[in-house]
């Protein structure tokens, strides 16, 4: 193919260098985050707060796989989290399985549930969102109605002293680490590019030879897997669960808000959004306990109103030169 003379011979090398720079920055952020979380139990820090931070980072990263990369917004995302908590609790409490096996099994249960719900991916937009929300409600009712000796009925299950909080904490740390590494792999992979093409125009992607439903299913499975793992670690850490809190739609709402605030579709966005908002939430709660929800709601409204693509997405939109530093 004849060239018009504008292509530089070392163009690809420059591209690789830019990718490396991006990756280095991203892995530095991951390392700082992981190290800070790792040190908390050793220094008698606020274990519950940091656990919750890690859980939200994992959930926001997980929802980004399906909402940010393919444009599908699963309002019933909590179903995967809830099923993860229940599978872990049932395996530990009823079957006497070790938590070390129960949490990975929770991840697998998330995959199975994702495959079971996969036909919903044929729907689009608000229809998909509503059906996925309904499925979460179905899961919640199912857990309440199953025999009490298995799920504990509407009272839920209490693992009591059988679980070690610190071990649960480190399990969550490992899960968050794997989620973040998976996100960075996806961001640079061909699968990630295909997913982003599907998000922007599924028909055009299909006409370009992308098997849209199959590729979308991969994102759906990854998304469900990490939510279920996070649920499993939550059951391990807290040692107690019930159907109302395990399938609370507020979990989906918060996950979506955190991920959107940072920037869905970017790798770093959900992390930035979660860390920022969870800290703000904590500060507001300490300083203005009465106004907590009001102030947090106001901050989120302003953020979505003025930065609809989130902090990171807006930065990339308005300052194009920053794109080479942001994953």
């Amino acid at each position: 193919m004849a060239k018009s003379g504008t292509i530089k011979p070392d163009d690809f090398s420059e591209e690789i260098s830019a990718q490396r720079l991006k990756s280095s920055l991203w892995y530095t952020i991951i390392t700082v985050l992981i190290l800070s979380c790792f040190l908390v139990p050793l220094q008698d820090g606020n274990l519950s707060f940091m656990f919750s931070l890690m859980m939200w980072v994992t959930l926001a990263t997980g929802i980004n796989f399906i909402a940010g990369f393919t444009g599908y917004m699963p309002f019933g995302y909590v179903a995967f989290y809830g099923i993860g908590t229940y599978v872990t609790a049932i395996l530990v409490k009823v079957l006497g399985v070790s938590e070390y096996l129960a949490v990975p099994a929770a991840g697998l249960s998330g995959i199975l549930l994702a495959l079971l719900f996969a036909p919903t991916l044929r729907l689009n937009g608000i229809f998909f969102a509503i059906v996925s929300l309904s499925l979460a409600v179905v899961c919640q009712r199912l857990m309440s109605l199953l025999p009490e000796e298995i799920t504990g009925g509407s009272h839920g299950l209490n693992l009591g002293v059988a679980t070690d909080r610190t071990h649960g904490y480190y399990a969550m740390l490992i899960i968050m680490f794997v989620a973040l590494v998976s996100a960075s792999w996806l961001g640079q992979s061909r699968l990630g590019k295909a997913l982003k093409a599907i998000r922007d125009d599924p028909d055009a992607a299909d006409a370009m030879g992308i098997h849209v439903s199959r590729v979308r299913l991969y994102a759906w499975i990854m998304s469900a897997f990490f939510a279920a793992l996070a649920g499993g670690a939550q059951a391990w850490f807290t040692g107690a669960l019930d159907p109302i809190t395990a399938f609370d739609v507020l979990i989906t709402a918060k996950t979506v808000i955190y991920a959107m605030a940072g920037g869905l579709g970017t790798i770093i966005g959900p992390v930035v959004g979660t860390v920022t908002l969870v800290w703000i939430d904590e500060i507001v709660w300490q300083q203005f306990p009465v106004l907590n929800n009001f102030l947090l709601g106001l901050i989120i409204t302003l953020l979505i109103l003025f930065m609809p693509r989130g902090v990171v997405g807006s930065l990339m939109q308005h300052f194009p030169h920053l794109r080479k530093y942001i994953m």
């Binding site: 292509i7 591209e15 006409a207 849209v212 080479k324």
Partner: protein
């Protein structure tokens, strides 16, 4: 020598509710040729394109591509048979950069990333979008988006290319560039089905023209035959 048929439609029908948008259409596209498809608004041109590329499911008829019967196959399976297309309103991947946009049709290839990248930059260079390669596609003008679709098709490297209104809303300079690239691709052995309202360009490029009116082929033949066919003149200009 008898030209090889790469795309053949027989008795294709497509309706929406009670409206028959495509009626019993027969059509041939030969290898390394450009077949033009013209007609007034609502004639069924884009519907026909969508039936060929698998976006719409036809009601009846047959579609053979390179000898393979593939009516109502999914769009990605049609694409893998070697059919690429552009859209009337450019359908680019807005929030990803131009390089990644162009790479999309080659993501399934067993090519290393370096080769893929180099091919993508070459395709962008051919349509003079190389300097914008790191921009997101949503930052391009309408005409540039049409060029980006053409670059994507070049990257795809299909045997058959369906171009839906490639010159609509494009300034004359970019139009000339597109015509140049289409001629180059034809010389490389690609076959085209070209839909356009721009009769000057379509007369200039096409080897054979089909005229659709109310979903039916009312005339077909070479440029001279079609432009002088009274039925075509009546369809375009009315009885006045």
């Amino acid at each position: 020598m008898i030209p090889k048929i790469v795309l053949q439609l027989k008795g294709l029908n497509k309706s929406f509710g009670g409206l028959l948008a495509v009626k019993n259409v027969d059509m041939l596209v030969n290898e390394s040729s450009i077949s033009g498809l013209i007609g007034i608004n609502g004639a069924g041109k884009t519907t026909l394109m969508n039936c060929i590329s698998g976006i719409y499911r036809a009601d009846s008829g047959s579609l053979d591509i390179m000898g393979v019967s593939c009516l109502n196959w999914s769009p990605h399976d049609i694409a893998r048979l070697g059919v690429g297309r552009t859209f009337q309103i450019p359908r680019i991947f807005k929030r990803i950069n131009l390089i990644d946009n162009v790479m999309v049709p080659a993501l399934n290839d067993n090519t290393d990333n370096k080769t893929l990248y180099e091919r993508a930059t070459e395709c962008l260079d051919k349509v003079k979008l190389y300097d914008l390669r790191h921009n997101n596609a949503e930052e391009l003008s309408g005409g540039q988006q049409k060029l980006l679709e053409l670059a994507r098709i070049m990257m795809f490297n299909p045997r058959i290319i369906l171009l839906d209104e490639p010159f609509a809303g494009v300034n004359p300079t970019l139009c000339r560039l597109m015509i140049e690239r289409i001629k180059e691709l034809k010389e490389q052995g690609k076959s085209f089905l070209l839909v356009s309202h721009d009769l000057t360009s379509i007369y200039q490029l096409s080897d054979h023209i089909y005229v659709l009116n109310q979903g039916q082929v009312i005339s077909e033949g070479n440029v001279d035959y079609v432009r002088n066919d009274p039925e075509v003149i009546e369809a375009y200009l009315g009885n006045a």
